[in-house]
Amino acid sequence: MTTSNDGGGDVRLTGISKTYGSFTAVHPLDLTVPQGSFFALLGASGCGKTTTLRMIAGLEEPSGGSVHLGDQEVTHLPPYKRPVNTVFQSYALFPHLDIFENVAFGLRRRGIKSVKKQVESMLELVQLGEQARKKPHQLSGGQQQRVAVARALINHPKVLLLDEPLGALDLKLRRQMQLELKRIQTEVGITFVHVTHDQEEAMTMADTVAVMNAGRVEQLGSPSDLYENPTTTFVANFLGTSNLIEAEVDTRSGEDIVLRAGGGKLVLPGSRCSAPTTAGGKVLVGVRPEKISLAHADEAGAVPEGRNRITGRIADSSFIGVSTQYVIDSPVCPEFEVYAQNIDRDARLVPGAEVVLHWNPAHTFGLDAAQAIDAGTGADEAAA
C-alpha cells in the first residue's frame, strides 16, 4: 500500500459504525483508502460493505465515528455537498433524461460552463458518443452501466464509489467491463472504492481488498497477499478454496513449527502462522489446492524429502481442461481438494486410487483453531 504525502484524496474512516435498532450492520471500523488506489470491499450480502460505501457517499448517517476525505471532515455533510460520486447498483439513470443530460446532470447542478464539450469527451471515453440522444431504456445493460460510470466520473470526484456496478451484467460482459473500469481508473487516476461479492472481480480489479464479514473487516491487503496469507478461516475459504486440516503443535524447530495431524507430521513456517502456537495447542493448517502435487501410492518413495505429505484415496475427479480437480478422501481431512495441471497425466489417478499428496512447506499457512472451519465456504452462508 502506498500513501500519498499530502493525504489530499485519502478516504479515512475512523471508528465508523452503523446500527439499525438492535442490529449492527457495521461494527466500529477504521479504514484508510489511499488516494488513487483501486480499493475493493469484498463480502457476502449483508456483511455491511454496501452500508460502509453509503456512509462514505453520505446516503447513510453513521451511528458513530467519522469520515474524512483528505483533510475535510464530511461525516455530517449531505451527499450533494460531498466531492464524491456513486455508480449505483442498478445504475439509477434518470429515465426522463437522455444520455447526454444524464451525464451532464452533475455539471449543470454545479453551474459549470462548457458542459457540451465535457459531456462529449466523457461519452467518447466510455464509447457512447453515438448514443447521446437516446433515453436510458433504449440502451443495453452494458451501455447503461457505462453511462452510470460516465455520469459519476465527469464530476472529477475525489472518490468514485461503485456499488456492485457489474452485478446485473452477464458473465462475459462483466469480464469486459472489469477491464474497462480498470482502464478508466488508470486513465483518470481517481480513487475507486468498489463494493462486490464476487471475489474474482475484487482480485482482478483492486490494488487493495478489504474482506468484510458480519460488519467487520476480516483482513485487508493486496489480492495476492490475501490469497497466499489468509489470517482467518473466512478469508481462506471465501477467497478461492483452501484445504484446512486440524493439527496439534508438536515442537518448534528454528523458524518452523512441526505439527501432528493424523499419523504424520506437517511443517509450517512460523512467519505464516497467525495463531498462537503453544506445544500441544491446536492449529488449523491450510494449503491451497493448486500448490499440491499428487503421486500414486506406489510412487511414495519418489516423493522428495522435506515436503509435507499426507495420504488418501481419490474420491472424485473432474477434468476441466486446463486442470483436473481431484477430491481426496484423507484421514486428516475428509474432502481434500487438489488441482493438478494437465501436463503429464498419470493414468492410474482415477477414483479409488490410493495416493500421496505432497507440497512445499513454504506454501502452508496456519490459522487459529478456535474459528469455525467452514466459515465463508458458502455452507455457512446458506444456513445464515
Partner: protein, 308 residues
C-alpha cells in the same frame, strides 16, 4: 443411456397436432364484446339521439323534426358564452387548487408516510362512502353566514380582500364564486390525489439518491427529477379534475347563486325546466367539443406521451 431409450416414443400415426390458435384468435373479440355492447347502448346511441335532437326544430305540442337547424348552436353559444367562460374558469381554479393541495399530500403518502400510508389513503377515499350531494350540502353548513368559518374569515379581514377581488360578496361566502370553487375543489380532490400518488409511488427512490449524489439539493432534486417523473400523474389528475368540474352543476346549484351559474346549470335548466331540448343538446355538444379541444391541446403541450 437407459433413461434416453426408456423415454416414451412419439406416438406414431397420429395426425399433425392442429395449431391451437383457431379459437384463440377470436378471444380478444369475445373479451371486447360486453364492454362494446354497453358503450353502444349507453353511450353511442344516446349520443346519436342527442346529436339529432340538437338539429331539430318544433315544440312540445307539435313534436320535433330534424330540420338541420344548426343555428341553434350559434344561438346557444351567443346567449350562454358567459356561463361557458365561467365554467372553464371555475374548473381551472378548482384544478389548480386541487393540484396545490393534492401534490404535497400525494408526495407525503408516497415517500414519507411509512406505516401511516394505508390509513391516509383510506382517509382520502373515505368521502366516497357518502353521497356527493350530501357532502356538498354539508359545505352549505360549513360556509353558512353565521358559521365559524365565515366568522373567522371576517375577523381576519380575509373577506375584505376576497370581496375586493370579486370572489365573495360583502361578509358572505355562500352564494359566491369562492364557495362554488371550494365545493368543486373539495369534491374532486381525490381524483387529483390518486393518480398523483400512483405516479409518485412508482418513482425509484434511488433516483433521489442519485440526484443528491450528483450535487442536486433536495429542492433541485424535486424540480429536476421528482416533478418531471410525476408528470403523467399531474396530467391525468388535472384531466380527471378539470373535465368533470367543467360540466358540474351541483356545486353551483347548492353553493352558488344565479351569478355563479355554470354551463351545467344551464343545460340542466334547459332540459328539465324550460324543456328546450335542441338548445340543451347543442350546449352539451359545445361543452364536449370545448373540453375535447382543450384536453388535446393540453396533452400535446405537456408532452407526456413518451413518459413511461
Amino acid at each position: 443411456m437407459a433413461a434416453a431409450t426408456g423415454a416414451p416414443p412419439l406416438t406414431p400415426g397420429t395426425e399433425e397436432p392442429k395449431p391451437p390458435r383457431r379459437r384463440g384468435r377470436l378471444t380478444p373479440y369475445w373479451l371486447l364484446l360486453p364492454g362494446l355492447l354497453w358503450l353502444v347502448v349507453f353511450f353511442a346511441l344516446p349520443m346519436i339521439y342527442q346529436a339529432s335532437t340538437s338539429v331539430q326544430t318544433g315544440s312540445l305540442e307539435d313534436g320535433y323534426k330534424v330540420t338541420w337547424h344548426f343555428v341553434t348552436y350559434w344561438d346557444a353559444l351567443a346567449e350562454y358564452w358567459p356561463q361557458f367562460l365561467r365554467s372553464v374558469l371555475y374548473a381551472a381554479a378548482a384544478t389548480v387548487l386541487c393540484l396545490l393541495l393534492g401534490y404535497p399530500l400525494a408526495y407525503l403518502i408516497a415517500f414519507r408516510a411509512g406505516r401511516w400510508r394505508n390509513l391516509i389513503m383510506i382517509l382520502v377515499i373515505a368521502p366516497f362512502f357518502t353521497s356527493f350531494l350530501i357532502r356538498t350540502l354539508a359545505w352549505k353548513t360549513i360556509l353558512a353566514d353565521s358559521g365559524p368559518v365565515v366568522g373567522a374569515l371576517n375577523t381576519l379581514h380575509v373577506l375584505d380582500v376576497t370581496s375586493w377581488l370579486g370572489w365573495t360578496a360583502g361578509d358572505r361566502v355562500l352564494a359566491t364564486p369562492l364557495a362554488v370553487v371550494c365545493g368543486l375543489t373539495y369534491n374532486f380532490l381525490p381524483f387529483m390525489i390518486l393518480p398523483l400518488y400512483t405516479s409518485l409511488e412508482r418513482i425509484d427512490g434511488r433516483l433521489h439518491e442519485a440526484a443528491g449524489d450528483l450535487y442536486a439539493k433536495p429542492s433541485t432534486t424535486f424540480r429536476k427529477v421528482t416533478f418531471p417523473l410525476s408528470m403523467p400523474g399531474v396530467v391525468s389528475g388535472t384531466l380527471l379534475t378539470f373535465i368533470p368540474a367543467a360540466g358540474d352543476y351541483v356545486n353551483s346549484e347548492l353553493l352558488g347563486s344565479t351569478d355563479t351559474r355554470m354551463i351545467g346549470n344551464v343545460i340542466q335548466t334547459q332540459f328539465l325546466r324550460i324543456l328546450d331540448y335542441p338548445t340543451a343538446a347543442a350546449l352539451s355538444f359545445i361543452l364536449m367539443a370545448t373540453i375535447l379541444f382543450m384536453v388535446t391541446f393540453y396533452i400535446r403541450r405537456s408532452g407526456t406521451e413518451d413518459l413511461v
